[in-house]
Subunit: 226 residues, 2 copies
Amino acid sequence: MTPEPQRPLRADAERNRQLIMRTAERLIARRGPAVTLNEIARAAGVGVGTVYRRFPDLQALIDALFTERFTTFLRLAAAAGQHVDPAQALRQYLLDAAQWRSEDRALDTILAHAGTDTKPIARMRDELGRHVDGLVRAAVTAGAVREDFASADVYAFLHMIGAVADRTHDIAPGAWRRYAEVLLLGFGLQRSPAAHTSAMTEEQIRRTWPEPATRRSADPGRAGRA
Amino acid sequence: MTPEPQRPLRADAERNRQLIMRTAERLIARRGPAVTLNEIARAAGVGVGTVYRRFPDLQALIDALFTERFTTFLRLAAAAGQHVDPAQALRQYLLDAAQWRSEDRALDTILAHAGTDTKPIARMRDELGRHVDGLVRAAVTAGAVREDFASADVYAFLHMIGAVADRTHDIAPGAWRRYAEVLLLGFGLQRSPAAHTSAMTEEQIRRTWPEPATRRSADPGRAGRA
DNA sequence: TCCTAAGCGGATCAATTTATCCACTTAGTG
DNA sequence: CACTAAGTGGATAAATTGATCCGCTTAGGA
């Protein structure tokens, strides 16, 4: 609930808060939303009480992580916006975000389980929306993408790349780039099939299908909370 | 474990087995891997004992559902193979599988959580692999796709479409088609940008980002069991 | 240095989940 | 129809999880 406490935390408390969040990330990356606050406390080497005092429940912890993540999206969008060439700008945002998405193994769970109805989050979402919209509009106007390209395509792009990245991370780490390239081509944001980012080997495919998993968390883990 | 009992089940038992599986699908589609066998029993209107006798645990139930699903993949691949035109064949498999993937809301969870090490499943996987390989090789030979197109791209395609479909199902049901088209274009399996399958509206985007979710199931729900 | 508000940790309890067991019912063969 | 192997359901034991509470410790201002 409380996004940021008014009185700053005592130094040790703040340290613990960070420790808890970093530990939670690690655990979430490994086990998905099935993690437990008690479990996180143990892994972080602090008492359960310490965790529960700072984060009433797992939801609150995930929301906090979500806010951090969202900030990163904003930063990337702003950075990309610096480019003078609209095509470059859009391409950079897509690729930077994709790269980050492919590296942060906790991101999917965090995005999927964050509560999204709080005021500050709504504000950040609007801001990101504006940034992305700007990038997209500029690129379309400049004729650098197919003319029906829209913001939705940016989000879809990231979801798609994320799906591939999550399933190939341990097997063929760079594999997502191939699909990023294919999508950019399909969107008309890139012309030629680019340097061969080759497909995966037989064995790599086998290990991707179906992908590993953990129980707990509507991983289709979807639906439910909404 | 037991994939198919040797002595056929008594009629009423078989009926209950089906009832349980159909109920489980519904519940999994709605709540992801967070479902409980007791919960399924209640929803199916049978006793817990009945469920546990047939399926020792949730894993067994999911494995059974997985086998059914895999059979469907095989059927689609075989059907697509009938086409004389290799381009048509590959395209049909991709689109049929994608459509099905977008409709079966339980599929992602089932694929993500199935145990994959059993003999019969390995056999089915090999068979599907051969089918898909055949489709891909024929299309490449015919020059209907970019020459570095590989089987891995087929699986990646489905993961990517699945990601979009799962997140837009309730909001913009046909949205996945747009991205299927973009991917086909990017893979060189299709030439022109096709009839405008337009992007989503502002409001639709907002509701997709981030998407709804349920706890439990490493949805990131990933990693863990492997 | 002293004092106290703030923080800490983990024993402990409530709630939920998982899974078993067994007295009762029923399909379906002879 | 009668008999029995097969199946049924749900009360309940065991295990796991979620969350609180409170006596002890400590940061950091006066």
